[in-house]
Amino acid sequence: MTSLSRHIDSLSVKQLKEGDPKAFDALFNKYAQRLYNFSLKYLKSAEEAEEVVQEVFMYVWERKEGLKPDSSFNSYIFTIAYNIIRKHFIRKARDNSHKDDLIYAFLNEENNLDQTIDYKFLLEKVENIINNLPEKRKAIFIKRKYEGLPVKQIAEELGISPNTVENQLVAAQKQIHRELQNEKLAGLIFYVLFLSV
């Protein structure tokens, strides 16, 4: 941060505080790409990085009256970004938690937890395998793992015994595991070094 850049920020912030939309655009044009790059590092998803940029700037706009032109806008915007990225990260981890469990079990068995992997690819793979499960098995798996419904309720909803639900869940897990092992033979799940240098 050069002092010139800080000076320009402080002018823009002063104008934004008075509600000037041009100053808002100026700050956006200066920081959006950097925010995007930053978010991408942690969230690994272009759409989510875009959402972070939008949320950060919406936050700035909604609280523009309270802005302090004399303190660093750079630090201010970092703080907002940090909070929003954290929120996204936690949420995403929660959404993926049942897939993570499957990936963990699979990698653990092969002693590959410390091996460099293509995590995003693995997630997509698991998602794909789940999508291609037989209809009934998939419905049960999704109700249990995505929607968190108790086994008993699923059984009632589908008019089958809780035992059948349990069996289907075990069968689903086994099937996913087996198909992941088949994938591994192709060596695709591991990070291919020469591609990224």
Binding site: M1, G19, P21, F24, D25, F28, K30, Y31, A32, Q33, R34, Y36, N37, F38, K41, Y42, K44, A46, E50, V53, Q54, F57, M58, W61, F78, A81, Y82, I85, R86, F89, I90, R91, A93, I103, Y104, L107, N112, L113, D114, Q115, T116, I117, Y119, Y146, E147, G148, Y191, L193, S196
Partner: protein, 342 residues
């Protein structure tokens, strides 16, 4: 043993193990580790460059922000801005009829019975609502993606056909009823305000009465129902059955004023009406979300904005899948997934 710092470095670089990911995940989640995480991220922030090829993506974000900021503006709008907004609203209303394609499918029937069938059609393009006036002075609104057809000889017998959703304010004429025909039923009207919903691709066809009295007669299924104000008739196409309930008619017909009013309605019903209005597909993940009840009024907001508002008042998360181009150059519907937060 690697330090957290090394793990997060690897995570950021993209070359990380599952254990690295778990550690980073843990770091984000644990409250007491936040000072440390924040410091590490601040360092990363200062090393993050402002260059990248994402100009297009980001200018789209700026557009969205402008749109949202403009929606909030009324509070601080200047007189000039208010004028401009009024003008743009008026302009929109004036322009929409210009989009109407009026197709005169005029042909003289050589039929021996000698009926002269010339029809006029009014189309309301997807995403717009269109005001219409019929030759007898009856006025109404067509909702997004709907069509109304009426014979050019309309004045001698008042018959119209509707596909989609339409609201009518029918001019009363003694001993000259007004008929609305759908593939499933016919509505006989004396003079009144009511709403007809008959989309081909929906499971039901419906009539909602605001004022006056109408009589609804089945086409293939035999039924004859008389509706009172604030009554709602639903015809289930596959079960071939009708249901009649009491509702607040205004909240169902407010779409014609650009409003969508929901008074303690389940999310499943709200989603259905949003789908119709915005030509979208809304997927509700979980039954408890489908049955959650909401109270809300939306005015000319776009679908993004409505989702955002829903998610700020209720523990809802959503994901919007933008429309995709099909090989034949048409576009898929916007798809929205919604979850209830636990």
């Amino acid at each position: 043993m690697d330090t957290n710092k090394e793990k997060i470095k690897r995570f950021i670089s993209g070359k990380f193990s599952f254990n690295d990911y778990l550690a980073v995940s843990d770091w984000f989640r644990q409250e007491e580790k936040q000072d440390e995480l924040r410091m590490s991220m601040e360092e990363e922030w200062s090393e993050t460059t402002s260059t990248g090829p994402d100009q297009q993506r980001l200018s789209r974000v700026l557009d969205k922000l402008h749109h949202r900021i403009n929606l909030e503006k009324p509070v601080s709008a200047t007189a000039l801005q208010r004028y401009y907004r009024l003008f743009s609203k008026v302009a929109a209303i004036l322009l929409i009829p210009a989009l109407i394609t009026i197709a005169l499918l005029a042909y003289l029937s050589t039929d021996r019975l000698g009926s002269v069938d010339a029809w006029a059609e009014i189309h309301s393009p997807i995403g717009t609502r269109t005001k219409f006036q019929l030759p007898d002075g009856t006025v109404g609104w067509l909702n997004s993606g709907s069509v109304i057809k009426y014979p050019v000889s309309f004045l001698s017998s008042r018959h119209v056909e509707v596909s989609g959703e339409a609201w009518f304010d029918v001019v009363h004429r003694e001993s000259d009823p007004f008929y609305v025909k759908t593939p499933w039923f016919q509505v006989k009207v004396l003079g009144t305000q009511f709403n007809v919903i008959s989309y081909e691709d929906e499971k039901t066809a419906e009539v909602i009465l605001e004022r006056g009295k109408v009589q609804v007669t089945g086409v293939d299924t035999k039924f004859k129902n008389t509706l009172e104000p604030d009554q709602h008739l639903v015809y289930d196409k596959s079960a071939r059955q009708t249901f009649q309930t009491r509702i607040d008619a205004k909240s169902y017909t407010s779409w014609k004023d650009g409003l969508m009013i929901f008074k303690n309605e389940p999310m499943a019903e709200i989603a259905r009406r949003l789908e119709r209005r915005y030509h979208a597909e809304i997927i509700l993940h979980s039954d408890s979300l489908k049955t959650s009840v909401f109270r809300a009024t939306f005015q000319d907001e776009d679908l993004d904005e409505i989702c955002r508002m829903l998610s700020t008042v209720a523990p809802i998360r959503y994901k919007i899948h933008e429309r995709e181009k099909r090989p034949d150059d048409t576009f898929t519907k916007t798809r929205i997934e919604m979850w209830l937060n636990n």
